[in-house]
């Protein structure tokens, strides 16, 4: 057994056929504030894990020990904090089956060996790397609202996934025409290539719920594309079997204030515009 993989004995280990979602540890817990305690305090993306938990609960009606998706944590360069992270996972009762510890150089290799169908992180460069390797990946957005009180899973705000209308609706030729840089084009292409797989994961989550009162909401936002491309993105989403609940077409308007209203947990990264991280939401 690889010493760098910690298994959470509080959670049932699932067969390899279940979809694996790999989440970066940075952000779930507060790793910056030094502490004498055995457990870490919650970080800005902690509420995401809780929202997934709430979703699972609603679906299965069972205790948090049974999960539909295999949620694992990837901890880069955190070998020194293994014990604390392990304790924290158990302390908060998080539905995480395993925790992988590795060095930065091993990142892409480790990610691939997890067989993750989706990688989520606050770090846009890691998301970029994952996309280049063909692993569907998206940004985790910091939330300022504290969700779960204590360890109880509340009926939290729904888990919000923000798809990029530009990735889904803009044809590649248009981007080259528009004079985007090579790195931007590459990220865009990588995001577009993994869109179908990403949509499949979200679809798998979403299909269990009705349109109203769903614990998962899919949002589509188009920043650069025109309304024509936005409509095309809506149809593409539909073609991928994905139920979109909310849709926004900005046509060049600034995305910051709109993102503040949407408050996504997960955001598709397409490398096109300057907002790579949702600002701390007010």
């Amino acid at each position: 057994m690889d010493p760098n993989i910690i298994t959470n004995t509080d959670v049932v280990q699932l067969p390899s056929s279940v979809i694996v979602i790999a989440v970066s540890c940075h952000g779930i817990f507060d790793l910056d504030t030094p502490t004498e305690l055995d457990t870490l305090s919650k970080g800005p993306t902690f509420s995401f894990i809780k929202a997934i938990q709430a979703m699972n609960e609603k679906l299965t009606g069972k205790t948090p020990k049974v999960t539909l998706f295999d949620v694992i944590i990837l901890a880069k360069d955190l070998q020194g904090n293994q014990a604390k992270i392990e304790n924290s996972i158990k302390h908060y009762g998080l539905p995480i089956s395993r925790c992988w510890f590795f060095n930065n150089e091993e990142f892409t290799q480790s990610l691939k060996s997890t067989n993750a169908k989706l990688f989520l992180s606050m770090d846009s460069s890691d998301v970029c790397k994952a996309l280049q390797e063909g692993v569907p990946a998206a940004l985790l957005c910091p939330q300022t609202q504290t969700q779960a009180e204590g360890d109880k899973v509340q009926v939290a705000n729904p888990l919000k996934v923000l798809l990029s209308g530009d990735v889904m609706g803009l044809p590649e030729e248009k981007l080259s025409e528009a004079g985007l840089s090579q790195p931007q084009l590459q990220t865009f292409k990588a995001a577009k290539a993994s869109m179908a797989e990403f949509a499949a994961v979200i679809r798998e989550m979403r299909r269990h719920f009705a349109r109203e009162d769903s614990p998962l909401r899919v949002t589509l936002m188009s920043v650069l594309g025109s309304s024509k491309e936005w409509a095309s993105a809506l149809l593409t989403a539909r073609g991928l079997g994905l139920e979109v609940d909310e849709a926004y077409c900005l046509a060049g308007a600034s995305s910051g204030p709109i993102l503040n209203c949407i408050q996504p947990h997960i955001m598709c990264y397409d490398g096109l515009y300057s907002v790579t991280q949702v600002p701390a939401l007010s």
Binding site: K174, E177, A178, G179, L180, A210, R211, E212, R217, T219, L220, V223, L224, S226, S227, K228, W230, A231, L234, L235, R238, E243, V244, D245, E246, A247, Y248, C249, L250, A251, G252, A253, S254, S255, G256, P257, I258, N260, C261, L272, Y273, S274, V275, P279
Partner: protein
Amino acid sequence: MSEIKPNDVVADSAADAGEEKDWAAAKAFFDNLKTKKPRPPKPRYAVTIAVSSRTLFNMTEERKMYEEEGLETYVAHHIAHENEPLRPGAAFPFVKALMTVNDKLRELYPDSEELFDIVLMTNNHAQVGVRLINSINHYDLTIERFCMTGGQSPIGYLKAYMTNLYLSKNSETVTEAIEEGIAAATMFNSDMQNQLCEDQLRVAFDGDAVLFSDESEIIVKKHGLDTFFEHEKEYENKPLAQGPLKCFLEALGKLQRKFYAKNERMNCPIRTFLVTARSAASSGARVLKTLRSWGLEIDEALFLAGAPKGPLLQKIRPHIFFDDQMFHIEGAQELGTISAHVPYGIGQKYHKGKLIEKPGSKN
């Protein structure tokens, strides 16, 4: 920064810098494309009009379906009829008139961002978006910005889009918007409609509790007309406080001055009207002086001294008429004027001069 934008615009420089960067990227992207379509204006400088899907298009039957048969049936119906354009709604002529003004502004000022920007702001479900776009394209409307909140309140988004005027069929949302400082009004469908001007946008406003606060309205309701006349004479030189639509009039005025600057005053494609129950002799001066103190102009001021507004509005034929009292709205509509109710002030507690038991009438 344009002063016609609502007051709570983000004040910190980091957000402003982000906004500038986003805009530069968007502009560069658009400019590089070989397209004849005009670029949507920068929100900060534009006069943003947010219309709901039910005011832009007539969706009465579909709404009924939603209320009687639920969300799933409603959405399925729209998807099945996606290629059938919806019929025009109450705000449709207003939107067309805004587009006409934009065309003329672009002719005179090809590089300016000071234009009307029309946003479709709806709490409709995203799946209905395809039918809405198809309908918009069918009528060749210039609407590039969309906000479909899938059941949530649009108030936060109104601010995010820097909205100058919000039109909706839902009076609760409209009331909430007004409380947040956004000019807003509730629109109604009417059966008959007068023939409207095609090359000039005509907007009519009531005075008290629309352009001005309801302070004088309160005096009439509580102390009667005589006290009101005395009060207005005494305070003739004291400007009235602002009402919910003052900023919108201001925004229109700013665009009008662009035409005046190019010697187009006689042909100005925007014309504003004040239609008030006040009488010119006894209470009119204060109104005109208030407007002057705000640096605002209104093209035509009609003092009715209590006469019904309907017949006069029928002559004016505005694309939209704003009033705070349902009694006037109904009267205007009976004679074919497109009317929008501003749910603000003490007028909401009264109907035809009598106090109603339940405050705030719903439409």
